[in-house]
Amino acid sequence: MLRFILKRLGLALLVALTVSFISFSLLFLAGDPAIAIAGESANAKDIQAIRELYGFDRPMLVQYADWLWNALRFDFGQSYYFKLPVADLIAERLSVTMTLGVCGILFALLTAVPLGVIAAIRPNSLIDRIALFLSVAGQAMPSFWFGLILIVVFAIQLGWLPASGASSWQHFIMPTVVLGYYAMPAIMRLTRAGMLEVLSADYIRTARAKGAPEGRVLFKHALRNAIIPVVSLAAVQMGFMLGGSIVVESIFALHGAGYLAWESIGRNDLPTVQALILVFALFYIVFTFLADVLNAWLDPRMRSA
């Protein structure tokens, strides 16, 4: 188990390093960052001064090493737009995004897992068909459009929920639904497939032969085994979700990290964008790492290996 964790950790670090290099390289895709900072109208002398000030005249790899070294100490440089440390800007916005991500994945799990279980208990029943249809439809629904429809219905027509902002828990309801439904189909399908497989297993028959009540058979004996792959899927989805929060945050004007990313891209604020790409990638890396460890721990065959 320890060996597995260490190996997995090494891989995670290597992935993180590679992603950091890619997100840093994006800066050079932009051509001369000095022009971006100075503005289109700046003269050659100013641009040269900025180039030297920010160290853009050094070789790219040196600049990357420098950036990485600083990034390791949570120093992502200054935002071109706010003239503030990028790290502070992101830290300030992360709580909204994290809240949204956690609510989203909880919403997805709490709806998709029971639906998947019911669908698996009664395959080809009406509920199963509805669940399958919902999962196909869910995958096809553009999240920005879904968000706007919710705003039209629940904020404008019915007036039940606030359309934008983050000042109360009600503000998080619609964004949670929009972010969470995206992960639902995959979780639902995996739960259903897992339960179907597990329910036909011999040990389920053993549990029934012991005289275990049906609820105990389903939840203690079957779901416990079927849920193992769902856990890692949920973690992966959580990583994707945080990355996808940019759309949801922009629709509902939630001033989280995703919103900051959207604004910063519009403002050509490259240090902020770079840092955000790295931060979102790190979230994904951390979540998948935790998922793998949790997975190994949930499965006794891997735990003792």
Partner: protein
């Protein structure tokens, strides 16, 4: 034997709807079983032995239709029993041991948890008491270092050990009836004899009734009090083991017994008996004797209703057109 049987089955019939029509998997099974008795149900794979045992436990897949004139377990009518009543019987008073020890234990829980669960489901005992009982039974089924096994997971045990655990699990509540469905087929040959010995010893010690399902007549000869020979969903011959081996009546039973090599009497390299032909399809209407197409005693009457004959008084029963299982000149004429 004037005592009432602990299990009494009359006219048990199992039908499975399939795309091609109704599959009449088990038809009109009758038998009685008393405390302390071992009934061996013998037959080829696919003859409906396992389905019969699952039907007795109430563990059939929902789509399989069960009907019977009577399934009576120690005064309880299993046909009319509620799900709740059945649940209280299963694991407590009637237990089952399955064919596949490798997959019959839940991979997510320890041996100890799974053993204790059986007791905790049926008796008001503490966890500690349940675990103590688990240790006791693991020792009884011959597992060394029982205490430390409790915290192990199924994948850490060999097939033989797992089957011992399954047996221990079935015995946790001291059931009156134990059904063992080919408990040794999935195991190494050397382990098979040990497990079987263990099962029979425990059955005698605890005075349980046992239904042992097998296709191995060698096993039957060693352990059975009663034998029921099953062919294509019907019991073609039932009776005391001694009578069946001494004087097998049904052509199928005779064929089966001829397949057993006898030390000393079967010559080295001699051809063992085989029964040519294949089992008939059980989809749609099934009439007459299912064995008639493979039977060397078959006559025209075999395609019609088959009478039940009683030999040696009441206990030895034969389902065949020939009263003693042999074709005689007057029948064929």
């Amino acid at each position: 034997m004037t005592e009432d049987p602990i299990l009494s089955v009359r006219d048990l019939t199992l039908d499975i709807p399939t795309a091609g029509g109704m599959l009449h998997a088990v038809r009109g099974i009758d038998f009685d079983l008393h405390r302390g008795e071992t009934l061996c149900i013998v037959g080829e794979s696919g003859s409906g032995k396992s389905l019969t045992s699952l039907a007795l436990m109430g563990l059939l897949a929902p789509k399989i239709q069960r009907s019977a004139a009577r399934i009576d377990f120690d005064g309880t009518d299993l046909l009319k029993a509620s799900r709740r009543q059945l649940r209280h019987l299963r694991g407590a008073r009637m237990s089952m041991i399955f064919q596949e020890p490798m997959t019959s234990l839940n991979p997510a829980y320890t041996i100890g948890d799974q053993l204790a669960e059986t007791l905790l489901l049926h008796r008001k005992v503490s966890r500690a008491q349940a675990r103590a009982r688990a240790v006791e039974l693991l020792e009884k089924v011959g597992i060394t270092a029982a205490e430390s096994r409790l915290s192990q997971f199924p994948h850490q045990l060999s097939g033989g050990l797992r089957q011992r655990v399954m047996i221990a699990m079935a015995l946790m509540c001291e059931p009156e009836l134990i059904i063992a469905d080919e408990p040794t087929t999935a195991l190494d040959v050397t382990i098979q004899a040990q497990i079987l010995r263990l099962l029979v010893d425990l059955q005698r010690e605890m005075n349980m009734a046992m239904i042992l399902i097998t296709h191995d007549l060698g096993v039957v000869a060693r352990v059975a009090d009663k034998v029921a020979v099953m062919y294509a969903g019907e019991l073609v011959e039932t009776g005391p083991a001694e009578a069946i081996f001494r004087q097998p009546a049904h052509p199928y039973t005779r064929g089966l017994i001829n397949c057993i090599p006898v030390p000393g009497r079967t010559e080295r390299g001699a051809r063992l008996g085989t029964i040519p032909g294949i089992v008939p399809s059980l989809v749609g209407e099934v009439t007459g004797c299912p064995f008639r197409r493979r039977c060397d005693q078959a006559v025209e009457a075999c395609a019609h209703a088959i009478p039940l004959h009683r030999l040696d008084g009441d206990t030895h029963q034969l389902r065949c057109v020939h009263p003693d299982g042999h074709r005689h000149e007057e029948v064929t004429a």
